[in-house]
């Protein structure tokens, strides 16, 4: 868990002000997913959005291929 948190804080920009952190979920059920409601914050430029895979900086969550067995995409 601590390791996961580290991955996110290292690779992702700080977004605490853009994601509501005060959310409290009551009557939590097992095997159910809970997703915080997204709020519009800043948007990336179209070219940056294409590079990041999302226009929303809060959703940028790169996969670190070097940690896994991972083959880079063949180049043209």
């Amino acid at each position: 868990m601590a390791k996961d948190k580290n991955i996110y804080t290292v690779n992702c920009p700080p977004v605490d002000t853009c994601i509501p952190q005060e959310m409290i979920i009551r009557n939590v059920r097992l095997a159910a997913a809970y997703v915080p409601y997204q709020q519009l914050c800043t948007l990336l430029s179209p070219m940056e959005a294409l590079k990041h895979g999302t226009i929303f900086p809060e959703l940028y969550s790169p996969y670190e291929g070097k940690d896994k067995k991972y083959k880079p995409v063949s180049k043209c």
Binding site: L40, M47, K51, K75
Partner: protein
């Protein structure tokens, strides 16, 4: 978001123009998804509509010089649809600068 000059340049580099169109279309898709769950977010809608305008201008600009990008677009003579690049060719699958993969 887009520099004014980028759109206004009558004849941008073909590849750069295609890249810009791809970027704007991608951004439209992401905002489209957001608006599906946030239909009353006016700021998001303003950004979306502004990108729609940009996309239209960029696409019209490209098609004027390099032929139709999709079905239903005008073509100059001779018929331009068969022009390169085809979707599977390298020219249509550019690398993004700064991209690691």
């Amino acid at each position: 978001m887009l520099e004014g000059g980028t759109i206004m340049d009558a004849k941008m580099n073909k590849k750069e123009l295609l890249k810009e169109i791809t970027a704007v279309h991608f951004s439209l898709i992401d905002l489209h998804l957001y608006l599906n769950t946030h239909p009353t977010d006016q700021n998001a809608l303003v950004s979306y509509n502004s990108l729609v305008t940009n996309a239209r201008i960029l696409k019209e600009n490209y098609e004027k010089f390099y032929g139709p990008l999709s079905y239903g677009s005008y073509s100059p003579y001779p018929w331009q649809w068969i022009n390169e690049p085809w979707p599977w060719e390298c020219e249509a699958n550019f690398k993004l600068c700064g991209e690691e993969r």
